[in-house]
Subunit: 289 residues, 4 copies
């Protein structure tokens, strides 16, 4: 999908609000002959905090790739007390999928990847059950089975983290991975683990949300794509959506029908991450357009 | 709206599931020359419980209005251990609106009523603040101001209940009424008080749900129309819907934008109640089509 | 999914409206000791026409499978001038997928099939381009390449129809198959060819609907699952859904984002067909619940 | 709603794309001590055309209100070949509602206006039937009855236009006004007449769209808020939305249920216009956030 697009630099910044921020940043780019192709900014009036994402073409830009970061740090980020990230559109992220027994999310991700929709590399899939090995094999992606018990959890996580490091994984997608990651694991990938939870959080935290939804007699069920933090199901929300249910739905039909909204929400969350349109601040996300 | 429609009998039943229920009930109607215009049934496989709503034209029916109930009780309800309600489509329900300071729900209900959409009588409106008196006056409906303090709550509720009784009120709509009703009040109108809560329950129970939603950083906000029970915001859900929000929304814009979904969800819940399409069982609703 | 469910008979009927239809049909079932597990009926007041779907357990039913049809014909269908279809839930339908170059719909169908969601057999896939052969191979399903030119169209269709017959195909899913079928082909599979069109019909009939949508500047795009008739994109609609777009969307991003709604709508339409919940009458569908 | 908000200048511009546009405009504002509170920009890559809306606080801005326009024209608009509009947030627009017989849209607009949601003045309402006079009276707004026949149309439009001029009307909302305006009338209010059409255009142009929808057997109905142009129902679309219908819906229930989506879509379109977030280019809208 990204093939013939010109390569761009993508800059995400945030800092205390102050006059002239947009003009300073755009001036920096345009004075150096950068052609801005997208800009989205937002000021949080409660926090008096400024957020911006700006993307410009590298072709013709006067500053070489390696020197953009120090130049920006010196000219703008430092004097404005900015936090910032700089990415380049041709740096494909490396994504690991972790999965348990259900196939709908992993099939959806792999089908998108195969068709070129999902602009990432997927060097490996990690499962805590055997079932999804066959799906990985269909798509020719190495599958690592690491079953988890109370006793071996620390050891298996160490193996997982070594695999992630060896494969230079940038971020992890929990595609219905039904194991809670340790705090150490989570801390190693801050804002880089995306989970799909099968409810519209904060409703129905924890296990069996569809059964909880059935018990409560709701008329909508949904899914939440979020970054994983140490607090279970409490991380920054990237995307949510719902579908309508009725008194005729059972926990089983909810599980079944919910799969569609889960896979779509997860893929939108992953897409937002890959295209560097997310920014986390105080446990919430800004999703740039 | 109901004007030229033929008058119908509306029967809602539920009982332990058993063979032959549909055929017994429809046979009862059809043997007595009733023309069935709507039938919806549902069997809960977990509870082994049967639910049905059937509606037939009274014109030409062999049993007179007054004798339908005893005949049905004798022939079917009693032998099948059925719980049931019988209504007639030409019995307009009498609805009381209770309201505090916000006008969007009450305006929506009154505009629907005036245009003939809402097939009820509205003999009175009760407010605990003065603000909505002007709206009631615009529509020529008596407004009773009953301000509530900790000290006078019991006394004011007694006055409210006398007003409801004097006006032969069948059911009550809390159109953003920001007072918690006492258990005694609620018990006097079981499954006859409809509240609109400004979140998709069970998320954000209690006060200021939009502020809670803002704090959590959700991407959807919504509303829930439900029957009021003694447990706060935990009664049977009739209808829910959502709208999309983003990081740009503040509690104030959520309050503002949420009004649209609140008023639509409330009116759908009221419509379901009026057309006798709701049935409550174990704190959940069956909503017949 | 259907595995441990009891086997059921599924009867869909329609006929001129007349008193006593529901009771006659349910009485027929219940008198013969059938346990009704689902019943949905609807009367079209404009056409004075009655529609019903009823499903009951075969286990314990007094009439053997083979004799249900003649018994029903004699006792009810004939005297009531009914049109009807009788199916059994354990008769898996045989589905052929026809596809051109895009993979999102076929991947979605095959992933559902593999996971057991889609209760059908898929004996073959027919493509008019080579691209999807690899996808068919991933799932181990025979792929037949039949490229179509103006000159060979009649001949290739003859081959297609022979393949369908040899494989005892019950119905065909056009999973973004970008060829118009001949009237003869369509007539051979009445109400048994399901197409996904990438607009909310009747908007944007014909080629390149997303480009048409872009030109018109719409704020919603969508998809329509429908039965194919000789009139292009004019057959009975089974299911539709939409997603929101904005001025920022190009034809390319619409094509991309539309894929999600296409595949979900198509799968819902296929599911409705498989579970025998569709009934076509005067170019419209009744979708039983 | 706008009460305690600081007064802002709102600038909407578009021009052929060229480097440095964002930085030029923001620099102009920020060099003159303007505090930007919102900025949204978009480049159409097909047309190579640039669009931007920027809003900044007037308080503390170095250029006085009256001089902003000439200063901006001289410094930026002229050299960049920009088309532009400058507005001030404290200039309340004057809106005329035109209406026929249905009350749902006008009630919704007037209730929003009364509650302070809709930041406009409504000096008059024009009806071509008597029915809505009572609604206008409820809200204390002058109602002008101008019945239209083939014979008197030109004359009545002249009267309408005089009323609009006398009342210094800025824009007109056709709240289910079932008369086609003449080209002369439309030309007098370019991009200043908002209509609600009760279908998701371009489906079901013209009369009785719900009846057309019923005939076609669609599963979604909707509404479109658009600017009126000389081509019937073909003007730039501002907002659209849909609701789900089924085979059980008749034209009458569609008319009834569609009212909710019509009034919500119309109010969103009006809100976008009032907050100066719309920009029309080549018969499409850019809707700034």
């Amino acid at each position: 999908m990204q093939n013939n697009k010109p390569v761009t630099a993508i800059l995400r910044v945030h800092c205390p609000d102050q006059k002239g921020l947009i003009s300073r940043v755009t001036d920096f780019i345009q004075r150096n002959n950068g052609n801005i192709v997208a800009l989205d900014q937002y000021t949080d009036r409660f926090e008096d905090h400024f957020f911006m994402r700006v993307e410009w073409e590298l072709d013709g830009f006067d500053i070489s790739r390696d020197e953009i970061a120090p130049a920006f740090e010196y000219a703008i980020a430092n004097p404005c007390q900015m936090q910032w990230k700089l990415d380049f559109s041709d740096c494909r992220l490396r994504m690991c999928i972790m999965v348990s027994r259900l196939s709908h999310c992993i099939y959806d991700l792999l089908a998108r990847h195969r068709s070129g929709e999902l602009d990432v590399d997927i060097p490996l899939i990690i499962g805590n059950h055997q079932e999804m090995a066959a799906v990985a094999e269909q798509f020719g992606i190495p599958f690592h089975l690491l079953q988890i018990t109370k006793e071996n959890k620390a050891e298996q996580e160490a193996t997982q983290m070594k695999l992630l490091a060896d494969n230079k994984v940038d971020f992890i997608v929990l595609a219905r991975y039904m194991q809670i990651l340790s705090e150490d694991f989570i801390r190693a990938y801050p804002e880089r683990i995306i989970n799909i939870h099968h409810s519209t959080l904060p409703a129905f935290v924890g296990a069996k949300p569809y059964h909880q939804a059935y018990q409560r007699g709701v008329k909508l069920i949904g899914a939440t794509g979020h970054y994983v933090t140490a607090d279970l199901d409490a991380g920054p929300i990237i995307e949510q959506d719902v579908i309508r249910v009725s008194h005729m739905d059972t926990p089983e039909t909810m599980v079944q029908r919910g799969k569609d909204v889960e896979k779509i929400v997860l893929s939108r969350a992953v897409e937002a991450h890959i295209t560097r349109r997310t920014l986390v601040y105080k446990n919430k996300t800004i999703i740039f357009k």
